[in-house]
């Protein structure tokens, strides 16, 4: 036997093992499906996705688009999917910003700031999320009712029904367009090399609000103002943007919990930066802010990114706790649909697929960012 023949034998053996593995997996899946099918037929249960076209006949607490009890299951599930995505993204953004701030404080030399950050992290990280969620929800629903709502200058109201904010007098489509324009501006502005970060932020805020006002002015109904202010009327507020209290509680609980974890990730990343680098920055006479922006953070980000991605995926999965307080996230919609339609396996499959899709995309985004951050030659 010469080396070439041995190599060939080995590669063939590897191929065979892999092929067997694939066949085995396919077989297991096939057996599972056919068993389920046989059992369902025996129980006289209808299976298949025909039910998706049927009207649900029930309503729920929150939706970004118009909802009615005549919606089909497919539309209702889509609304649940959008709610999960919406809540998850808001919590990811807020937790990341807060987590970076607190992680930096945890790394700071001032004892008071450091102690505060430590207490925050230990408190919110070590209590189960569901407990925190139920606690915040209980606190929020014991606020005054809509008739005695806290008000901020008669344009925004906070009651146990939710937060009422002034909004633009336009359709949801235009609001989506606004977000798209703001995101586009962010991309354009933050790619400018010639500006300082603070200048970029200011420029983005000013141009973003300008663009929003312009769009609102173009698309608002001709005979009314471009702003819509909430006003008390009977049992509710009319006009403005209503953020239901369930959504407020979800954002609050998940953000506090998620940011405590992210803060630890950030602190770990900042600790990893060799002290020689910060000392070199000091020797060059850089201010501590400049050191943080140009020396520490860029280096630390490489350590922070992978665990941060995991935290983002965790936050997305945490949205499923909505079921505990009646917030209509995807899991809540699926579990109600299961009871109302009896299509357990199909709906569970859809739920799994949706979360795979969301979290796989997130993981890909993190990988992409990682690749962008990688140091040349490292």
């Amino acid at each position: 036997m010469d080396a070439a023949a041995l190599k060939l034998r080995r590669s063939r053996r590897d191929m065979l093992v892999q092929a067997l593995l694939v066949v085995f997996v396919v077989l297991v899946i096939w057996v599972a499906i056919s068993t389920a099918h046989t059992n369902l037929t025996e129980l006289n249960m209808t299976s298949g996705f025909g039910f998706l076209e049927r009207a649900t006949g029930w309503s729920y607490s929150f939706s970004l688009i118009d909802r009615s009890i005549d919606d089909s299951y497919s539309r209702t599930l889509l609304i649940g999917f959008l709610n999960t995505l919406f809540l998850g993204l808001i919590c990811i953004v807020l937790s990341t910003i807060l987590g970076f701030a607190i992680g930096t404080a945890r790394d700071a030399r001032q004892l008071g700031l450091n102690a505060l950050a430590t207490v925050y992290i230990q408190l919110f990280r070590n209590l189960p999320l569901i407990l925190q969620l139920v606690f915040w929800y209980a606190v929020l629903i014991h606020m005054p009712g809509p008739r005695q709502a806290f008000t901020m200058g008669e344009v925004a109201f906070l009651s146990n029904r939710g937060l009422m904010l002034p909004g633009f007098n336009v359709s949801p489509t235009v609001v989506l367009a606004m977000f798209a324009v703001i995101a586009l501006l962010a991309v354009v502005i933050f790619r400018q090399k010639s500006l300082q970060p603070v200048q970029k932020l200011l420029l983005w805020l000013v141009s973003g609000s300008g663009a929003m006002l312009l769009l609102a002015w173009i698309f608002a109904p001709a005979d009314s103002s471009i702003f819509s202010i909430p006003a008390q009327q009977g049992l509710r507020f009319r006009g403005g943007i209503g953020v239901p209290i369930e959504l407020v509680a979800m954002i609050l609980a998940i953000t506090l919990y998620g940011s405590a974890y992210i803060a630890e990730v950030v602190r770990g990343g900042l600790n990893e930066v060799p002290s020689g680098l910060t000392e070199a920055g000091k020797a060059l006479g850089l201010s501590s802010r400049a050191i943080w922006f140009h020396v520490k953070m860029p280096m630390a980000l490489r350590t922070i990114m992978p665990p941060l991605g995991n935290q983002w995926i965790f936050i997305m999965k945490a949205t499923t706790l909505g079921v505990a307080i009646g917030f209509s996230d995807l899991f809540y919609i699926v579990s109600t649909s299961i009871t109302q339609s009896g299509q357990t396996l199909e709906l569970m499959g859809l739920l799994m697929l949706s979360f795979l899709l969301i979290n796989y995309s997130l993981a890909q985004l993190v990988n992409f960012m990682n690749a962008r951050l990688a140091l040349k030659g490292h």
Partner: protein, 346 residues
């Protein structure tokens, strides 16, 4: 799966030439499984649904539905304490039944077309009737659902109530927000904290809640609208007709006993000296009562001795003997102005 195993077991038994007693009826596979296990698995609740399924801190269960379950357990196994209560949320009850975690659902479950067909359930005779109603905070000063315009309504997720309330308010053309909760305790807390203006639930449940659970009963008003009259029945897996017969005749026997005045106090006396042929048949003095179902002839007698007739069960859990003092109303026998009746015992 269980049915298959039972079929194979039967086939093997015959092939082996085991002389099985030849009966006129095929034995229910569910009943066989219950007898082998020695316990009957019944649906409980994730918390207390007052008057129907209540649990205390010692994990002792009581309520109308629990008593119905204990009656069924006595009929099949001869001992009410062999009932094993499995805690389930509303949303879990059908999957749990289909997967065999419980043998039967007796838990304020309404008979609907979807459940009867798609979900693959089989329903018994209705043993209780209750309609969906709204309860609202007294300080709103309203008396009917029409005045709920713009309000927030709380319901339990995954129930028929959720659909009925949505449908009713849409028909009235009322703009509203519906918030639904998985657990009754969450729902109560939300309603009491004034998160919702009104609370849609099953009439008997609301009456029970208002009578005992809430600090000031006058602070809450049950609105005049009657959204439905829901027949409540026991639910079983489809494909075991003999078990459906068993549950139907369990309910029928409780109603017949009340009609004929057979109570837990006088059942022994009636059995030793039956006042009429019907009672003699019911209590197994004349054979046939058990043989036709494949169990003991005296099952109904033992059951009535253990739990009492339907009237006794009602009074103990919802009526005069309970803290709730609910009128029987629709849930009286047909001969007393209600709508409950039993099929003919021949």
């Amino acid at each position: 799966m269980a049915t298959n195993i039972a079929k194979i077991a039967c086939a093997v038994a015959f092939a082996a030439g085991v002389a099985a007693p030849v009966t006129a009826v095929a034995k229910s596979s569910t009943v066989t499984a219950i007898e082998e296990r020695g316990t009957l698995l019944c649906s409980g609740h994730n918390g207390s649904y007052f008057g129907f399924v209540e649990v205390n801190d010692k994990n002792e269960w009581k309520g109308l539905d629990i008593d119905m379950c204990r009656a069924l357990t006595t009929a099949i196994l001869g001992d009410p304490d062999k009932a094993q209560i499995v805690p389930l949320s509303w949303a879990q009850r059908f999957p749990a039944l289909q997967s065999g975690d419980v043998d039967v659902i007796i838990k304020a479950t309404g008979w609907t077309m979807g459940r009867d067909t798609e979900v693959g359930l089989q329903f018994s005779l209705p043993y209780f009737f209750g309609g969906t109603q709204f309860m609202a905070h007294g300080d709103l000063g309203i008396t009917e659902a029409k005045e709920l315009d713009g309000g927030t309504i709380c319901v339990e997720a995954g129930t028929t109530i959720e659909r009925l309330a949505g449908n009713y308010l849409k028909t009235l053309g009322i703009e509203h927000t519906m918030v639904s909760y998985e657990k009754a305790s969450e729902l109560r807390a939300a309603y009491l904290a004034n998160r919702c203006d009104a609370f849609a639930a099953w009439g008997p449940f609301l009456a029970v809640l208002r009578a005992t659970e809430l600090e000031k009963p006058d602070a809450h008003i049950i609105l005049s609208d009657q959204l439905s009259n829901e027949p409540i029945a026991a639910a079983m897996r489809q494909g075991d007709e003999e078990f459906v017969d068993m549950v139907n005749w369990m309910i029928a026997a409780l109603l017949i006993a009340e009609e004929e005045g057979v109570t837990s106090a006088n059942v022994e006396e009636m059995a030793s000296n039956p006042p009429n042929p019907k009672i003699a048949r019911l209590l197994g003095v004349d054979p046939g009562m058990g043989e036709r179902l494949g169990i003991r002839d005296t099952w109904a007698k033992e059951m009535i001795a253990a739990t009492g007739n339907f009237g006794e069960i009602y009074d103990r859990n919802l009526g005069k003997g309970s803290p709730y003092k609910l009128e029987r109303g629709l849930n009286n026998l047909w001969s007393h102005g209600g709508v409950l009746y039993a099929p003919i015992l021949d």
